[in-house]
């Protein structure tokens, strides 16, 4: 029987196991939305397409299931560009379907036309323009396959109106996919694995530096086994948080620009860096010419382009992190070594750094609420619920990474590579849609939240009970911190003193709003928020000019890290004077 492209589209989604999609309808995709009514797809109507894409990212990161978004042509499609770029940077498996004007008028500046495959060429892992209705099943199958396999990433499918309205024979959803130019390596090269094991067995000051690849590969059990087997101290990137339980005795804390002093010092003084699924981002390496000068590097990554992109690698291993770690652990089990004894001196050094440079802040009982204190309280109250935590971008994000000490993978969702403000709340919304009964928290900044807060109403409409905690300093805090430290405290366009009353805003949307202004209010209000059904916004009115430390200034070497209460060297001034 010949059916329309929209019906094929819906049948394929069903066959793919997609039961939730986020999106926004419009002219070119109308036919798809019409047919959707006859299918059991649960569609969450976001009020802005950017929110839909971040929600899909949150859905993917929390559940490991490829996320799906559907939007219309032109502005609908261009509004997805930020989310697509974010997903590309952070390796999020998502598939975005965009409406397109009919093929006959493409290129003629039709109403709501944009060159979407052209625009998204460099911000997707792959994109498709469907030009024949009968090709839809193959394209959709390939889209999902490409999105989730290898290094995950965003895939876009552009659907011209005449293609989804046209008819074709539906011969079923393809079972197999075969793309001759795409066969990601999965197993690590055995010779390389042996070589890595030999280096590990000989190292005296090794450190494991894990990244987001561990989360995407669902390899945290294998990582934990590696850590237990070798007793090597371990640090994780922002994207890797959750891959190792923070209560593990060998946990060093996050590394990088706002990572712990100890984790960063380990990166400076190590003789062997065991990099598992990270990509040597500049927020981790600092000044490249000073990075890893006296150590060897093992780098495991599924994406060959990540290897030797920024730094020299001694033992590259291309493969799926889970498989490679399984291979590596098997190899290491053959080695007879008293790991703890051999690393004793290294442990001593690390304990010394931890003793002299712990993460710290000073909360005065009657003073303003310290953001770190607020986040630590959120952690203490909610830890037992094993919640999913999303964040926006800025100071609050770094404090959340430092003080929300998670225990499980896929529980910390944040925008790492692109640093997309406004990411946190939509991502929490998406995670909540994936896990309706789980506690989902958005730790957000007042600046970040204002970028996407219109979708509070979406949470109310679909009963997505996200708890939003605003670390509210009435500033674009991270920008202000840089202006204070590197531009002589000349504050330019960072003051958010004039802002909505977030309690009333929540109430206007039919959600619950709460406010804490004194340290003593923080804990009871968090408890109240967690026990209140439905979405809640908690406005935590914090100290305005608290700075986030430790900090490695951009472009500096890791060893130039500035810890709490340490002076800022004059040479870091970047202003015009």
């Amino acid at each position: 029987m010949r059916v329309t492209g929209s019906e094929i589209f819906m049948k394929c989604l069903q066959a793919e196991g997609v039961h939730t999609a986020f999106g926004h309808p419009g002219g070119a995709i109308l036919h798809g939305y019409d047919v959707m009514l006859d299918y059991p797809l649960r569609h969450i109507l976001c009020r802005h397409e950017q929110v839909a894409i971040h929600a899909v990212e949150g859905y993917y990161k929390a559940s490991g299931q490829t996320g799906t978004a559907i939007v219309t042509s032109g502005p609908g499609a261009t509004n997805t560009v930020t989310g697509l770029t974010d997903a590309l940077m952070d390796s999020m498996a998502i598939v975005v379907f965009t409406g397109q004007v009919p093929t006959a008028v493409m290129g003629c500046d039709a109403f709501q036309e944009a060159d979407v495959v052209g625009t998204t060429r460099t911000c997707t892992k792959h994109n498709f323009l469907a030009l024949k209705t009968e090709e839809l099943p193959r394209i959709i199958k390939e889209a999902y396959h490409i999105a989730r396999s290898g290094r995950p990433g965003p895939v876009l499918v552009d659907l011209p109106k005449d293609i989804i309205m046209g008819r074709a024979e539906f011969k079923g959803y393809p079972e197999e996919v075969s793309i001759r130019g795409y066969n990601p390596s999965v197993n690590g090269h055995p010779g390389q694995i042996r070589k890595a094991a030999e280096l590990i067995a000989a190292a005296r000051r090794p450190v494991i530096y894990g990244g987001g690849g561990i989360i995407h590969a669902d390899a945290s059990a294998e990582l934990t086994e590696l850590v237990n087997l070798t007793q090597i101290p371990t640090t994780l990137t922002l994207m890797g948080l959750g891959a190792l339980d923070t209560s593990h005795p060998l946990w060093l804390g996050m590394l990088g620009m706002h990572g712990t002093y100890t984790a960063n010092m380990c990166m400076v003084h190590t003789d062997l860096m065991i990099a598992i699924g990270p990509r040597f981002d500049d927020r981790v390496t600092g000044k490249l010419s000073e990075f890893a000068k006296n150590c060897k590097i093992i780098h495991v990554d599924i994406d060959p382009t990540s290897i030797r992109k920024n730094v020299h690698v001694d033992v590259p291993i291309v493969g799926d992190v889970k498989r490679v770690l399984t291979q590596l652990n098997a190899e290491l089990r053959k080695i007879k070594r008293d790991w703890r004894k051999d690393l004793e001196e290294w442990y001593g050094q690390i304990a010394e750094w931890q003793r002299t440079h712990p993460l710290r802040y000073h909360q005065v009982p009657d003073g303003a609420i310290k953001p770190q204190y607020a986040i630590e309280q959120i952690y203490k109250v909610t830890e037992e619920h094993d919640p999913i935590v999303a964040t926006g971008v800025g100071q609050h994000q770094m404090w959340a990474a430092q003080y929300y000490r998670g225990h499980q993978p896929r529980r910390f969702i944040t925008s790492g590579g692109l640093g997309t403000m406004g990411f946190g709340f939509p991502a929490a919304l998406g995670a909540q849609a994936a896990f309706p009964d789980k506690l989902v928290i958005d730790i957000d900044g007042d600046g970040s939240f204002q970028m996407t807060m219109q979708d509070l109403i979406t949470c109310v409409q679909y009963n997505l009970p996200v708890k939003i905690f605003l670390v509210n300093n009435r500033y674009l805090g991270m920008v202000r911190q840089w202006q204070e430290l590197f531009y002589g405290k000349r504050y330019s366009q960072v003051d958010l003193e004039i802002q909505p009353d977030f309690v009333k805003l929540a109430e206007a949307c039919g959600a619950v709003g709460l406010r804490a202004e004194r340290p003593g209010d923080v804990r009871p209000l968090i408890e109240k928020a967690v026990s209140t059904p439905g979405p809640v916004v908690v406005d935590l009115v914090c100290e305005r000019e608290e700075n986030c430390y430790p900090m490695i200034p951009a472009g500096s070497a890791i060893r130039d890290i500035i810890d709490t209460d340490e002076p800022i060297p004059d040479k870091l001034f970047q202003g015009w004077r």
């Binding site: 460099t122 130019g181 795409y182």
Partner: protein, 187 residues
């Protein structure tokens, strides 16, 4: 990591899916990464679903490793082979329209003959020549024709093929092997 002092010219043969948008994908990758491309030529192969590109690019070992990896990352790229360090034949073709006053006509024809060129069009005042050869030969003939007044040149970019009996499709079984080989080299 990279050092322009060690840059040299590399010739890559690339097999890609022959459908719309693929050339744009490769061009925008190259533009986004800032690689120095000297020339690019592309046309269908014996298999009409596959196109073959010859890409000429400047870089050192590190740049080339990145270029090859990044090209492989494009889903529509089936195979990439760097011909630079193996025996291969590379040719370019030009059409050149040169002023041909009566006194110079014989000399221009002689130059064309020496370089095994052909006259493809004649007017009372110009010749249009077709010349094929390696980059050095093309440069030489252009230099010799310059004094007569070159009006227009169109140049094809390099076409390259490896010497020997193996075809590009038989050289490597897809990218999986290539990744293995790269690791083996690293060892």
């Amino acid at each position: 990591m990279t050092d322009p002092k060690h840059y040299r010219k590399h010739t890559l043969s690339i097999l890609v899916e022959n459908h719309q948008g693929v050339l744009a994908k490769i061009a925008s990758l190259i533009a986004a990464k800032g690689y120095n491309i000297d020339s690019l030529s592309v046309a269908e192969t014996l298999d009409p679903t596959v196109s073959r590109m010859t890409l000429s690019v400047h870089g050192d070992e590190w740049v080339m490793e990145q270029v090859v990896k990044q090209l492989h990352r494009i889903i529509d790229v089936i195979k990439v082979v760097d011909l630079t360090d193996e025996s291969h034949v590379g040719r370019e073709m030009i059409f050149v329209r040169v002023n041909a006053e009566p006194v110079n006509r014989a000399e221009i024809l002689r130059i064309a003959e020496i370089f095994r060129g052909r006259v493809v069009d004649v007017t009372p005042t110009t010749y249009t020549l077709e010349i094929t050869g390696e980059a050095g030969k093309i440069e030489a003939v252009l230099e010799l024709l310059q004094p007569f007044g070159v009006q227009e040149v169109v140049r094809s970019g390099i076409l390259a093929i490896a010497r020997g009996s193996k075809t590009i499709t038989k050289r490597e079984e897809g990218r999986l092997r290539l990744a293995g080989r790269k690791q083996a080299v690293a060892e």
